[in-house]
């Protein structure tokens, strides 16, 4: 009886399997992709974070896009022009349909502009509140800025356009806030104009993307289906790649690179990421935290900051900590985003000069200071800090390490934690793809509570001359002039030893040898460009 039951079941299984094989078109190519992070919300305005933005980019599109080299190219807008110094005109692409069949037009752009800056959106800076959005006709939209803004659209590759009718129909007109207390329809479903649609989405477990048959554009890749699984554990993720269970992983831990390259079916893609890792010093407090210097703050003395800069050998960090994969840098922005970056060279390390400078500043025997450092946020972040601590010890500075998981680290060092640090390591990517962002956010004075300038300037470095230049950079529309101003501003920061830039950290992706995939320097894994044999 049981035996019979089993046979029948077996036959049914066999039949089902056969049917499944028959139902699959012969050419369907599935790419399985694992990332260490989750895709937590499908609402494209909830979380401004690289991995999430890259996922959404398969389903949604912006008015502009960035190509494989991060250059801005037309997206849902065919072209755009400056009709007046304060009026950008965007001409929309015709004959574009959302994947539910409704046509795309200016109303969707205006709707998305309102939604992206509504309360709860994490992307509110994409379309500043004082920008007027005007519909000229169904396929032309004007953006009127209160003052000239040459970089208004620099970040619009990640301001994804949503369908007005879809959002209204599904009660999703308001953006899902990061701290929403109930899941909204838009956080669990996504519908855009992009090359893929979402077939199924189980947060934290699995998300399946299917090729959008009605996509207006051509895609370079040949992937019909993307199966995304988060795999948080490093060694499990690498094993899944090596065993062929997944085709692409991000990231590969540095220590596993050789293992992946040695395997028969996988290989590692590396390149510099646009993220710059740097050290910051507290130049505001009257007395440093965790320090033996009482009554004064050594970092207020430029000679001390210069001594720190000279004590740290970034080439050693590169060869010993980063396995030769990092690219040391002199400036605070990724070189991919600043054409004049090549004009800067980093000053050579000089521990002897550092000792002399410390002695001149009144610390012939060095001093003590605490250093805050995340241990799970950037590539080998904790190890970089340990190396830095060793180098500083050689010039007599005793650094007390406070190396913690990012949850604890960020709780202390950010504005919300009262900038509770005197010496720290941080990484920064200019989200806008433009230097103004880092000049304003990281290098700007934070002493005016009315503006958000310098909000992430955790050490409070301040030079009003730099701020004045930053303000001019914002409104200058002539690119050559603008680049010169940016260069001047960075030079002020370098001369002040306001920060100690270390390197652009490496991007490390693992791919099956069957997969060809371009690696974009902003670490967005875009699988519409992938091909698989």
């Amino acid at each position: 009886m049981t035996l019979k039951g089993l046979t029948i079941k077996g036959a049914a299984f066999g039949l089902a399997a056969m049917l499944a094989v028959l139902a699959q078109p012969a050419s369907a190519v599935t790419l399985r992709y694992a990332n260490q992070g989750d895709l937590k919300s499908l609402d494209p305005y909830t979380l401004n974070e690289t991995t999430t933005i890259a996922h959404h980019g398969h389903v949604f599109e912006g008015l502009t896009k960035r190509d494989k080299n991060l250059s801005i190219i037309p997206g849902l807008a065919e072209r755009w022009e400056l009709v007046e110094p304060t009026r950008w005109r965007f001409h929309l692409r015709r004959n574009v349909k959302f994947s539910d069949g409704t046509p795309f037009n200016a109303d969707d752009v205006i709707f998305s502009a309102e939604r992206v800056r509504a309360p709860g959106s994490n992307f509110a800076t994409r379309v500043p509140a004082d920008v007027k959005v005007e519909k000229v006709d169904d396929y032309t939209v004007d953006f009127v800025t209160p003052q000239p803004n040459p970089i208004l659209f620099y970040q619009w590759d990640s301001w994804y356009i949503m369908s007005k009718s879809w959002a209204e129909k599904n009660n999703s007109v308001a953006p899902t806030p990061a701290a929403a207390t109930t899941p909204t329809f838009a956080s669990l479903n996504a519908m855009g104009t992009g090359p893929y649609t979402i077939e199924s989405h189980q947060p934290g477990v699995k998300t399946v993307f299917k090729r959008n048959p009605s996509y207006w554009g051509k895609i370079d890749g040949n992937i019909d289906e993307i199966v995304f699984t988060p795999i948080a554990n490093d060694s499990t993720r690498v094993s899944a790649l090596l065993s062929g269970e997944v085709d692409v992983i991000e990231p590969v831990p540095l220590q596993d690179i050789n293992r992946v390259n040695a395997s028969q079916n996988a290989t590692v893609l590396t390149g510099p990421e646009v993220r710059v890792i740097f050290l910051g010093m507290d130049q505001v407090r009257d007395e440093l935290l965790n320090s033996n210097v009482k009554g004064k703050n050594p970092f207020k003395d430029k000679r001390v900051r210069e001594a720190f800069f000279k004590a740290i050998d970034v080439e050693v960090i590169k060869s010993r900590v980063m396995r030769n994969l990092s690219s040391p840098t002199a400036i605070m922005v990724g070189r991919e985003f600043f054409d004049l970056a090549k004009d800067f060279t980093r000053e050579k390390p000089d521990p002897e000069a550092a000792k002399k400078l410390l002695a001149e500043a009144g610390y012939p025997n060095g001093f003590e200071v605490g250093m805050n450092c995340p241990s799970d946020r950037y590539v080998n972040d904790g190890d970089i800090c340990r190396a830095v601590i060793g180098m500083l010890a050689r010039v007599g500075v005793k650094v007390n390490p406070i190396i913690e998981p990012k949850a604890q680290y960020f709780a202390k060092v950010l504005k919300s934690g009262g900038y509770n640090t005197s010496f720290y390591l941080l990484g920064w990517t200019v989200g806008s793809g433009d230097s103004h962002n880092v000049l304003y956010e990281i290098m700007g004075c934070r002493n005016d509570p009315k503006t958000s300038r310098g909000d992430t300037n955790l050490g409070g470095y301040c030079n009003p001359k730099l701020d004045a230049l930053t303000d001019k950079v914002l409104v200058e529309t002539d690119k050559a002039k603008r680049d010169q101003m940016i260069k001047e501003a960075f030079q002020i920061g370098i001369d002040d030893y306001g920060y100690i830039p270390i390197h652009q950290q490496p991007l490390v992706w693992g791919t099956s040898k069957k997969v060809k995939l371009p690696q974009r320097a902003d670490n967005q894994v875009r699988l519409e460009w992938a091909t698989k044999e």
Partner: protein
């Protein structure tokens, strides 16, 4: 019996309160959830708003009371990471953990008893010594290492079994099961072995020592004197009497297998409750952490209660000692 139950339930409430209080006071040290929710370049004003909307600005006692008040009504709040009710997420993840725990326990009991008997019966032989040595390794190797070794050998080198996930699952009502598909069953093998190995060695060593003990008792000698065959003596009489403590231990261990599948689930990216908890710790998802800890407390309280009741049923002497003597 009823008085006993009531006393036990009052104790359980105390346990829950204690777990809740300890957990909540620890959460203050795991970091700021707001940073895990929004991105680094989120303006300060927006962070303040997020903080306020999560109720994190209230003093700790207010937060605890509010949480407990809702928890009593079965509302465990909304996960910060997933923005879904915690109870719904736990219900969705529970089948993965329970199926894994079940398989691991079956594996541990089956092989543990078998190997324990073998090593007891062949005492002193090379085989028994080998088993002993192996069991020592099993008991002292950390779980994550076993998991990684198994993945290295069976997924990466031999490519026989999957290294992560549950494979395809079939939904039956609210329950998702991996038992009904080939890939689901294959996916269960390595995590079950990893999770069950420690219990296996525990059971094996227990069975061995109990068996040696029992084999020395009088009734075994009488059984032999009656001319019973070895098989009947070992399995009919000796093993049966060995199993009583084994069952007790296995029951108690089932609780810890469910509760502490965290490491195994993390290594294998197993979408269960333990993995969820670890992610919650990393992301400072306080509602999930709190609910998980309370759930684990509930599991242990329930299992201990059942074991206590069973004791008094199985062994009437215990009942005399507590109830009837007075």
């Amino acid at each position: 019996m009823i008085a006993f139950l009531i006393r036990r339930i009052i104790q359980a409430v105390g346990v829950f309160l204690a777990v809740g209080l300890i957990a909540f006071s620890m959460f203050r040290f795991v970091g700021d959830p707001v940073n895990q929710i929004v991105s680094l370049d989120t303006p300060y004003e927006e962070r303040v708003k997020v903080r306020a909307s999560l109720g994190l600005d209230d003093p700790l006692p207010v937060q605890i009371l509010r949480y407990l008040g809702r928890a009593v009504q079965g509302d465990f709040g909304i996960s910060y990471q997933f923005r879904q009710p915690v109870s719904a997420i736990l219900a969705e993840r529970a089948p993965a953990t329970l199926e894994l725990a079940l398989c691991a326990t079956i594996f541990a009991l089956g092989f543990g008893i078998l190997l324990g008997v073998i090593s007891a019966l062949t005492r002193g032989s090379a085989l028994a010594k080998t088993l002993d040595a192996v069991s020592l390794i099993g008991i002292s190797l950390p779980t994550f290492l076993i998991g990684i070794l198994l993945i290295y050998v069976f997924s990466e080198k031999l490519q026989w079994l999957p290294s992560f996930g549950r494979g395809d699952v079939v939904r039956i009502g609210g329950w998702s099961t991996g038992f009904l598909t080939a890939s689901g069953l294959r996916a269960l093998v390595l995590p079950s072995i990893t999770l069950g190995l420690f219990q296996l060695t525990l059971v094996m060593r227990l069975v061995r020592s109990e068996m040696l003990e029992v084999l020395r008792t009088e009734y075994i000698r009488f059984a032999r004197a009656r001319g019973l065959k070895n098989r009947a003596v070992y399995f009919g009489h000796a093993l049966k009497n060995t199993l009583i403590p084994v069952i007790t231990i296995a029951g108690l261990q089932l609780g810890s297998v469910i509760a502490f599948a965290i490491i195994t689930e993390t290594v294998f990216q197993w979408p269960g409750m333990g993995f969820l908890f670890l992610q919650a710790v990393q992301n400072v998802d306080i509602p999930i952490m709190a609910a998980y800890l309370l759930l684990v407390a509930a599991i242990f309280v329930a299992i201990n209660l059942v074991v206590d009741i069973l004791y008094s049923v199985v062994d009437p002497r215990l009942q005399v000692a507590t109830g009837k003597a007075s």
